[in-house]
Symmetry: C2
Subunit: 274 residues, 2 copies
């Protein structure tokens, strides 16, 4: 799988970069973009073969705007990847934790390391937009006294020293990434998981009936999230992940839902990695 | 309702500030904090009487970490507030849209104004952590050529000129805020809406059965979101908002759920504002 072009969001050293390497190997060409939208676009135009996109965090839940991008750029989920989140506190080489008066990172990363910093009440925690970008800045600006929370790859790339290892509070925390492709590519065979969006009329107990139908057809639900349909307040839409053993039964149930409840959109059929 | 102390996240001029004024009047004292955690803490300790907290965006969905704060600081939702999101493009007085080469704002605000900026492909869009904080920086640093997307209150407070009015793509976009209080305070009487968390065993069709029970008892579902229970992979937890007419029936159903499915936690009982 060499010479594949993989689109990621963020600078080199980001968690997206880490997943791209783990999934496609060290030989792949990484195309870094500033926004998720540019990532989606690059796959739609064919500039990138695949994209790696964070879709869900065990603390923050689903990243809904990314579903909207999959929808709008007509992409397909071809695989998923669970990355255990390990946060490293890093600074310029030679700096000790006592020298640090400020730590900057993504709000989610700061949140995930709260207990660690409770021991250091004098360290100011400051929100930034990206974990690896702070590491890069510390290295290029030679900032002393300032730390970053980022991945160990970021420390390696930017030559920073890890002064706090695996400082996340919940050790089993993960981020779920999806691998995206354009709809022209074929999906993996024998899928046992699918990500779908169902729009149903807001009649009494509509969702209860829908889930009963799914359960009766042995479709397990591994995720559900309602999304308000602003322009049509009488409709409800749900993002769901469903896991199944019988692919034919899954397909038949989707047709049945379409007939009885409303629109079904399949974002991808793939193999569960959990 | 004068002299109440209201905790908000963000600088003066933020959307939280706007909701605090709309909800409690111009006479209230605003306590601004850098993080949602400090906001929650200030209500728990009694430093603030109430807090205003964004909990859901019609584009991005629920802000799950804020539920965790309500849980941990033992707060209660006493009310909700739907703020129609209106984004204003602002810059130093005298600047015209042709002078602007860069616009900084929160990623969500930039996303919501994408179509507007499609007309100005030369303007670079840059993520920042806060909408109003950029407005403040432009004013204090006297930055020319740089624009902020923020609320009209922010333009007023920092003396900026609005050069693009209501530039959001979806005009009916809103953010849902909740008003928080400590559990010692009494809740409003005659509630018709509740925010709950239910933890159920992952048996086949568990959620379908739970929702059927709720529907049979005339509890409408206005929101649902599954959250993975990391440490206990055999359990599922759901955040739900439910709307009802009969409060007694609601209470009885919660007891029934507790008996048949698992733990129920009520984050607040209040009056629906939608």
């Amino acid at each position: 799988m060499s010479n594949l072009k993989i689109a990621i969001q963020g600078v080199p050293g980001s968690f997206h970069h880490q997943v791209a390497l783990a999934n496609f190997g060290e030989e792949t060409e990484i195309l870094p973009f500033n926004t998720f939208e540019l990532v989606a676009k690059s796959v739609a135009t064919g500039d990138a073969d695949f994209a790696v996109m964070a879709i869900e965090n065990s603390i923050a839940g689903a990243i809904l705007p990314n579903y909207e991008l999959i929808d709008r750029y007509e992409l397909t989920i071809r695989d998923e990847f669970y990355l255990p989140i390990a946060h490293q506190l890093m600074a310029l080489p030679g700096q000790k934790i006592e020298d640090i008066h400020e730590v900057r990172s993504h709000p989610m990363a700061l949140l995930q390391c709260k207990s660690f910093f409770a021991q250091y009440p004098d360290i100011i925690l400051k929100d930034d937009v990206d974990t690896a970008a702070v590491a890069k800045q510390i290295a290029t600006e030679k900032w002393t006294g300032i730390g970053a929370i980022a991945s160990s790859i970021a420390a390696e790339i930017y030559g920073l020293e890890i002064i706090g290892k695996n400082i996340q509070t919940v050790q089993s925390n993960f981020t779920r990434f999806i691998i995206l492709q354009s709809q022209k590519e074929t999906n993996p065979s024998n899928p046992n998981k699918a990500s779908i969006k169902v729009t149903i009329q807001n009649n009494k107990g509509g969702l209860a009936k829908l889930l009963t139908l799914m359960s009766d057809n042995d479709l397990d639900l591994s995720k559900i999230q309602s999304i308000p349909v602003i322009q049509k307040p009488w409709e409800y839409a749900f993002f769901m992940d469903t896991v199944f053993e019988d692919y034919v039964k899954f397909k038949q149930t989707m047709i049945e839902i379409q007939k009885r409840f409303g629109e079904v959109k399949i974002f991808g059929e793939y193999i569960s990695r959990k």
